[in-house]
């Protein structure tokens, strides 16, 4: 396990999400971030992939997100960011419906 190693988490509620090793704490534990919560994680709970991303030690969440999107991995928006995106989608759908009705008239 080295810094920047792309992994998939295979245990817990974040299981199935891609993550990047941000810091190596000791033989058993690493710090991860990405499509999971930023948290300390046992190495046994990670399945390493063959990619290593270029990030600094203790890189921030936004840095990790940029690096992952460059590597072709979609970031899942969570919390407030997700709600914003959903609202935008809903607004678009509503606009489309209204415009269609006007066209019919």
């Amino acid at each position: 396990m080295e810094i920047g190693r792309l992994c998939i988490k295979i245990a817990g509620r974040d299981a199935g999400g891609e993550c990047v090793v941000v810091e190596v704490i000791d033989d058993n534990f690493v710090m991860i971030d990405g499509n999971t919560r930023r948290r300390k994680c046992n190495i046994m709970h990670l399945e390493p992939l063959d990619k290593v991303l270029k990030i600094k030690k203790n890189a921030s969440h936004s840095d990790v997100a940029d690096a992952m999107e460059k590597a072709g991995i979609k970031m899942i928006k969570k919390g407030a960011a997700r709600k914003k995106a959903e609202k935008k989608k809903e607004a678009k759908v509503k606009e489309n419906k209204i415009s269609k009705k006007e066209k019919k008239k």
Binding site: I8, I10, A11, G12, R13, A15, G16, E47, L49
Partner: protein
């Protein structure tokens, strides 16, 4: 003679000693069966066993583990399933 629905063993029998000293049989609904892993058949943890009507009233988060395939697969089978998808 008890009613037919009570003889069919659809309901479980609970022997209760009443305050007057006699024992009476109470007929109660059965507790739901153990949930098992869909892959290996192992018993699943984290799913409470109670009368089904009561189980339905629980919030979703108390009915199953909060992980992918929670309540369907055991944790080990879930790990293998995720590894297959890589």
């Amino acid at each position: 003679m008890v009613e037919g629905k009570l003889k069919s063993r659809k309901l479980r029998r609970v022997y209760v000693r009443m305050p007057g000293g006699e024992t009476r049989i109470l007929y109660k609904k059965r507790i739901m069966g153990k949930h098992k892993c869909g892959n290996c058949g192992k018993e699943l943890h984290g799913i409470p066993r109670m009368i089904k009507s009561r189980f339905k009233n629980l919030p979703k988060t108390k009915k199953r583990p909060e992980r992918p395939y929670g309540g369907n697969l055991c944790s080990l089978c879930m790990r293998e399933k995720i590894k297959e998808g890589i």
